[in-house]
């Protein structure tokens, strides 16, 4: 074991040297240094010492624009006051740990906060935490809470609140998706309260993703006496208070006077006085933002982007994401039990064309694995070619020389219908007769894990290991985890994934990811044509707006320049 220099995690020094050698770009270095507990400032200095010349610069990408916007906003002339209105669907909310939609999380996050925050630049920083520390094999994580943070009911945030919240995550009956994510915690016995401001995680297997996991959207920190209904008890440490919440109508927030963070002008945040969300039809919200009735809209669809991208008075902030639409096949149901049939359908994806047809070309082409180029350990692989003849031959080999008829189920939400239509045409020459069953979104989510062939939208996760652990493994008893919609469980894959989760060095992890991606391409359950770009579209009189890859509305430092 290496000795700790200046109290920094030894792996940080390793990484600094690989940054020097050019094995790692600066963004990856920043990510991992902060991940392991170095402050962002330290990491910046160290990366500068690593030498910019050695750092490949091409992959910075659009995702850094958000943070630059924030920084430029911090130069002096910040104005306070005013309100911000956004159009977003408002569903019923009860227990934040049970949130399963980003929309609900966007409501709760204005009032309550997370221990960490993954910024628009995909770097995770401590938030309610002062810092974190990991031991050398990343099986022990110590979380240090900031002192003097008060809930909006006056109570101080302490370890007891965090312990209570983690208890809720790990309580099977609450039904939080945090439970699957934190599978390395063996109940509350793995969580230790050291003192009033310190908590220790004892992991059953090393995992590098703990700080990222703590920013998973149901990971809201609740007060220790939380009763279970957030709308009745909107208590949190966040910058706004919930004034009104009516499902399907509107949500209103007011600025909190005693928020713990200070703005660039030295006074307490937030800059805005009021936030309002209104729940209106998507098309109506596109008209509303053009007419100035709303200032922003939740997760613009590609067609909305098309309609709004050149409208004066609006600022479009694009960001590359790990959001995608997977063509997923249930490996426990005929005909998808046969890997040849699965691969035949994968070969029917003409990726470039699908991207053009379904998403106006606004995305990055993908391999048939659920790992995106924005994931730090992504291993670059050639994009598979469209090959209907090869698919036809594979089908014949699998016993379907005359082709076969299957039903593709999806929802009429964003790009799914276009993808389904395109796939129907592209798969026809190979012998697939795709019957389309396209329903409204609710109808699809009701059976998304049950259908044998479907197109499912997946949201962004900052690390490749996170999404693979959510959707492509089994639990200890060998039962596929709840979100494993394809029931695909591969022993070699699962072992390698566990290995990757405990591998700190990004180059070493990239090697494992090469294997993971190859296994998934060779015998996996999904086809994947492209990774979506997302946009934040907000009226230009707002500064400090961040385009987050998961469509999170981070409103604390947003301000209006027209007051």
């Amino acid at each position: 074991m290496k000795k700790r220099k200046n109290g920094l995690h030894p792996a940080i020094w390793d990484m600094q040297s690989s940054l020097r050698k050019g094995n790692m770009n600066r963004r990856d270095f920043m990510r991992f240094a902060t991940l392991l507990g170095a402050s962002a400032a330290t990491a910046t200095i160290m990366s500068a010492c690593g030498g910019d010349t050695a750092a490949p610069s091409g992959s910075e990408g659009a995702s850094s624009t958000g943070s630059e916007a924030t920084e430029s906003g911090a130069t002096g002339s910040i104005k306070r006051g005013g309100s911000w209105t956004s159009a977003m669907e408002l569903q019923a909310i009860d227990h934040p740990a049970r949130l399963s939609w980003t929309q609900g999380a966007n409501i709760v996050r204005q009032v309550s906060e997370y221990l960490t925050e993954t910024g628009a630049d995909n770097i995770t920083r401590p938030y309610l935490l002062e810092r974190w520390e990991a031991n050398d094999d990343v099986t022990e994580w110590t979380l240090y809470l900031k002192k003097g943070i008060n809930f909006n009911n006056g109570q101080e945030l302490q370890a007891d609140d965090v312990m209570f919240t983690i208890g809720e995550w790990l309580n099977e009956d609450v039904g939080s998706s945090m439970l699957g994510l934190l599978s390395y915690l063996d109940g509350m016995q793995s969580v230790e309260k050291v003192d009033d401001y310190t908590i220790k995680f004892h992991l059953s297997a090393g995992n590098i993703g703990v700080p990222e996991h703590l920013f998973h959207y149901p990971g809201i920190i609740l007060p220790r006496d939380f009763g279970g209904d957030f709308i009745k008890q909107p208590v949190g440490t966040g910058p706004f208070t919930l004034e009104e919440y009516a499902e399907g109508e509107r949500a209103r927030f007011k600025r909190r006077e005693d928020y713990w963070r200070n703005g660039a002008d030295g006074k307490s945040l937030p800059y805005l006085d009021e936030l309002t969300y209104i729940s209106i039809d998507r098309d109506a919200s596109v008209a509303a933002i053009q007419g100035g009735q709303v200032d922003s809209l939740f997760q613009p669809r590609p067609s909305d982007w098309q309609a709004l991208k050149d409208v004066p008075g609006l600022t479009v902030r694009p960001v590359s994401t790990a959001q995608c639409y997977v063509t997923r096949m249930r490996v426990d149901l005929e005909p998808w039990t046969d890997v040849r049939v699965r691969n035949a359908l994968k070969m029917c994806h003409d990726r470039e064309k699908i991207l053009q047809l379904a998403y106006f070309g606004e995305g990055d082409l993908s391999i048939d694995a659920h790992v995106a180029p924005v994931h730090p350990a992504y291993c670059e692989q050639p994009i598979p070619k469209y090959d209907p003849e090869g698919a036809k031959a594979l089908l014949a080999e699998a016993g379907y020389p005359d082709g076969l008829t299957v039903t593709l189920v999806t929802k009429n939400d964003e790009a799914e219908p276009a993808i389904a239509q395109a796939l129907k045409e592209m798969a026809a020459p190979a012998g697939f007769d795709l019957q389309l069953d396209i329903t409204e979104p609710g109808g699809y989510w009701e059976r998304w894990a049950d259908v044998d062939l479907g197109v499912t939208a997946w949201s962004h996760r900052p690390l490749g290991t996170m999404v693979l652990a959510l959707g492509y493994i089994a639990d200890e008893e060998g039962v596929p985890v709840p979100w494993n919609e394809t029931r695909w469980v591969d022993e070699e894959f699962s072992t390698k994934l566990r290995e990757a989760e405990a591998t700190l060095d990004v180059e070493a992890r990239r090697k494992i990811f090469c294997e993971l991606e190859t296994i998934m391409q060779e015998r996996g359950p999904i086809g994947n044509a492209f990774w979506k770009k997302m946009w934040n579209i907000t009226r230009s009189n707002f500064e400090g707006v961040q385009s987050h890859p998961t469509s999170y509305d981070l409103m604390t430092e947003v301000w209006r320049n027209d007051l």
Partner: protein, 429 residues
């Protein structure tokens, strides 16, 4: 007249009953699994089953219909009278059992039954319930009220674990209730029930929607009907002349354009390009419609475009027919001024057909504006019914449907009265 009104009232009641029965049955059969929508996609089958029970969905359709209609607080098998108390903090109705004058509810904790006694300040005092158990064959059971406004049955020491839904999620609890009957006063006693979608009383969400819709429908009615009748009459008395051709062709074009085309066209031109009016209806508060009435302009224009042509053409056809009759010709020939012929003699007869159409359309304006409401984001009744039906939220669908039925019947009544006014030959038959 009195007999006529009594008969109308009776037929209203019968219509409402039939509609509610049919709707209840349809939502029940076709609504899908509402527990999936409530609990989300990650819930386990056990949790769904448990919620299914707690919503009382395991009761027969007939029992649930009866509960919805006449309530069940007076015939559930709880031995104490059930009273309802309004909680001053939440403003919501709560049911309590009246145990010798003391409002009480019960809860089971660690195998012990506790009674919660309601105090005047809406707090509760908790104490052991004592021996309330009753023999039921081999088992000891107790029917009481829980804190979620349901009558529930506990079986003592059954050892069967059940899932109960607490505020903090679904927990597995030993010795929990084995049966749930959600309490309701029933539609006939003014209890519209609780929405499964919002988990709030239906009335809370429904009334603002009804009000918004009523404002839009009333404004549309005032704008469209006089305009349509006027244009129709002008066209009818000028049959074949340029003015008639102009009105006919324009109204045909307007009516033939679907509202989602004309609506979006109006949004683009008047709202976004010229910025004369707000493009859509954004309700920043419940009363936004009174603060910014200009939000109504585009929905009204869209409705006018689609409606005016239809009714104007109807009026025109009717007018043309009447103008060709012998008594009009006689009146003109005997030298009566043309305006007098039209106003005194022609219009009264020509209005019969348009009145029928207008009355049918009032109903559509109230409950059927799904498309217009969606385009302009207008929070009205049509969208509410549509969303509730998609969710399988039967109490919301039924409550909204009852309102549209009442409006349908009332407008029919008004139509009938208008007939008799226009044509005294029609008695109240």
């Amino acid at each position: 007249m009195v007999r006529f009104l009594i008969r109308s009232f009776a037929s209203t009641v019968v219509t409402m009953l039939l509609v509610s029965m049919v709707l209840f049955f349809l939502v029940d059969v076709g609504g899908g699994d509402v527990t999936v929508k409530i609990l989300g996609i990650q819930a386990t089958p056990e949790q769904r089953e448990s919620l299914h029970k707690q919503l009382g969905l395991d009761q027969s359709t007939i029992t649930r219909y009866a509960t919805w209609l006449i309530g069940n607080d007076w015939w559930v098998p709880v031995e104490y009278p059930i009273i309802s108390v309004t909680n001053a903090k939440t403003g919501e109705n709560e049911y309590w059992a009246d145990v010798n004058g003391q409002p009480t509810r019960w809860a089971m904790e660690d195998g012990e039954l506790f009674a919660f006694q309601h105090q005047a300040d809406d707090s509760t005092v908790k104490e052991l319930a004592g021996d309330v158990w009753q023999k039921d064959g081999e088992q000891e059971i107790f029917w009481g009220l829980n804190n979620a406004n349901s009558a529930v049955k506990w079986v003592r020491g059954s050892g069967v674990s059940v899932f109960i839904r607490t505020a903090a999620g679904i927990r597995e609890v030993k010795d929990g209730p084995t049966q749930y009957i959600p309490l309701s006063k029933g539609m006939l006693r003014g209890d519209l029930g609780r929405s499964m979608q919002t988990r709030r009383p239906v009335a809370v969400t429904l009334w603002p929607r009804v009000r918004n819709t009523a404002i839009l429908a009333f404004a549309a009615f005032l704008l469209i009907m006089p305009l349509a009748l006027f244009l129709g009459i002008i066209a009818g008395i000028s049959e074949g002349r340029p003015i008639d051709r102009f009105i006919s062709v324009t109204s045909l074009a307007a009516t033939a354009t679907p509202e989602f085309v004309s609506g979006i066209f109006l949004i683009l031109v008047l709202g976004i390009w010229l910025k004369l009016v707000p493009p859509v209806a954004v309700f920043l508060t419940d009363d936004a419609i009174f603060q910014n009435p200009e939000m109504l302009i585009l929905p009204l224009l869209t409705l006018t475009l689609i409606e005016v042509g239809y009714i104007a053409r109807m009026t025109r056809a009717s007018m043309v027919e009447v103008m060709g009759t012998a008594y009009i010709r006689t009146a003109v020939i005997k030298g009566m001024p043309f305006s007098r012929v039209v106003i005194r003699h022609a219009i009264r007869n020509a209005l019969m057909a348009p009145i029928t159409v207008i009355m049918l359309h009032v109903n559509w304006l109230v409950g059927g504006l799904v498309v217009v409401e969606a385009i302009f984001g207008y929070p009205g009744l049509g969208n509410y019914i549509y969303d509730a039906a998609i969710f399988g939220d039967f109490s919301a669908v039924l409550a909204a449907a009852m309102i549209t039925v009442i409006i349908a019947v009332v407008t029919r009544l008004l139509g009938d009265l208008a007939y008799t006014f226009l044509n005294p030959r029609i008695r109240y038959s």
